[in-house]
Amino acid sequence: MSTVKLTVNGKAVAVDVEDRTLLVQLLRDHLNLTGTHVGCDTSQCGACVVHMDGRAVKSCTMLAGQADGASITTIEGIAKGDELHPMQAAFRDNHGLQCGFCTPGMIMSAIDIVHRHGGQLDEATVRHELEGNICRCTGYHNIVKAVLDAAGRMKVAQAAE
């Protein structure tokens, strides 16, 4: 057992876990943040994507201990109170989901894509960059539309700040 100290959605937490605990298990089973999903458990589907120190990572492919000292943002941490994050709002407005299982990971990866590419996003880039997120409903069309829509909204929001 080890104590892992990290910041999750802005809140400092210290959790006693077995060393073999994955970051996603710490989030879901110890902190009850079940918005982060486990899809494939083989590092391919991206349903477990969270941000660690601003980078989108697969939380099923990290030990909790590797995140010690890091700042983690999960799907629960991106809205401002009742106001959805622009990416969440764009997913809703464009119906960027079918069953919704992959959605948290899609949104966390998509925010990272927009951060990396800024205003340079086009459809081909979004499709290519979403390589690590799998939608088993195959609902990619509206997901891609949502990401492009959100990229515009995030640019506007950034310019306003």
């Binding site: 073999r20 083989t42 590092s43 991206g46 990572v57 492919t61 030990l63 010690d68 960059e129 390589e131």
Partner: protein
């Protein structure tokens, strides 16, 4: 995953001494291969020693005609490094093709070459560029480092600290990725050194892991152009064959990827 004990090392020496204390320890860098393998219970190290936060193992440097990438530098940082893009753009491009964006944030060059997956990208670059692998004990030429499937010259407890690449006159990489895993069905790295030597290495093709391709090297030495490879014949014997492609298919891919890599190198 079986029980294990996690250690975070802050220096290379500390990592080496932690390894020596473990009964069956493993080094962990980005963990994008080791952790999935542990989750499948195909590996059950007594101890995992995390190298990813060791400051002396992170970063990129160029001096004179040598580019050095320290071992725990993630693929994303190699792909986006202005230093790498200036010195060996083909190497930065290669790093953009590994896995997916989340994997590239975590996976490292040292982890990739120490694992030596027969379809990994970096081994082709190291072999074609005649790179040198630096460890906490010695320097090893790439040609002596890769020893077949998932096998390297590394001794038990030896830690890759950096890879040094001589900056070539020209270099290019092209791969046919497996559509799900993004590993190379076949990838070819071509390089022309500043002294005019031509080196070509293919990954994902051979049953023995990364390999030089002398027939293509000879053709490119005579005439550095994609067309020069048209008449080269690559034997299918010794090449990988699986549900994704026959040995003959991969033999043809070696040629086609080499041609694309030469075209990209200019």
């Amino acid at each position: 995953m079986y029980q294990t004990t996690y250690h975070r090392a802050s220096t290379v020496d500390e990592a080496a001494s932690l390894f020596a204390k473990g009964t069956e320890a493993k080094f962990l860098a980005g963990g994008q291969t080791l952790l999935p393998v542990m989750k499948q219970r195909l590996a059950s190290p007594s101890d995992v020693i995390d190298l990813a936060k060791i400051k002396e193992l992170i970063g990129v440097e160029a001096s004179g005609d040598t580019l050095t990438i320290k071992a725990a530098t993630p693929h994303y940082d190699v792909a986006t490094s202005d230093v790498v893009k200036k010195a060996i753009p083909a190497l930065a491009y290669l790093a953009t093709l590994i896995g997916d964006p989340a994997v590239r944030y975590r996976g490292t060059i040292g982890g990739s070459i120490a694992n030596n997956d027969p379809a990994a990208d970096y081994p082709a670059a190291l072999l074609a560029l005649d790179a040198t692998v630096k460890t906490n004990k010695r320097s090893i030429a790439a040609a002596d480092f890769f020893k077949g499937l998932f096998t390297t010259a590394l001794e038990d407890g030896e830690i890759v600290t950096a890879v040094s690449f001589p900056v070539p006159a020209k270099a290019g990489y092209s791969k046919m990725p497996h559509p799900a895993s993004r590993f190379a069905l076949t990838g070819v790295f071509v390089a022309q050194t500043k002294s005019g030597e031509v080196r070509v290495a293919a990954t994902g093709a051979s049953q023995n892991g990364v390999m030089r391709v002398p027939a293509i090297e000879a053709a490119l030495k005579a005439n550095w152009s994609p067309a020069a490879i048209d008449s080269v014949s690559i034997p299918a014997s010794g090449l990988l064959a699986d549900i994704h492609g026959t040995a003959e298919y991969r033999a043809n891919l070696v040629k086609v990827m080499a041609q694309r890599a030469v075209a990209a190198a200019g």
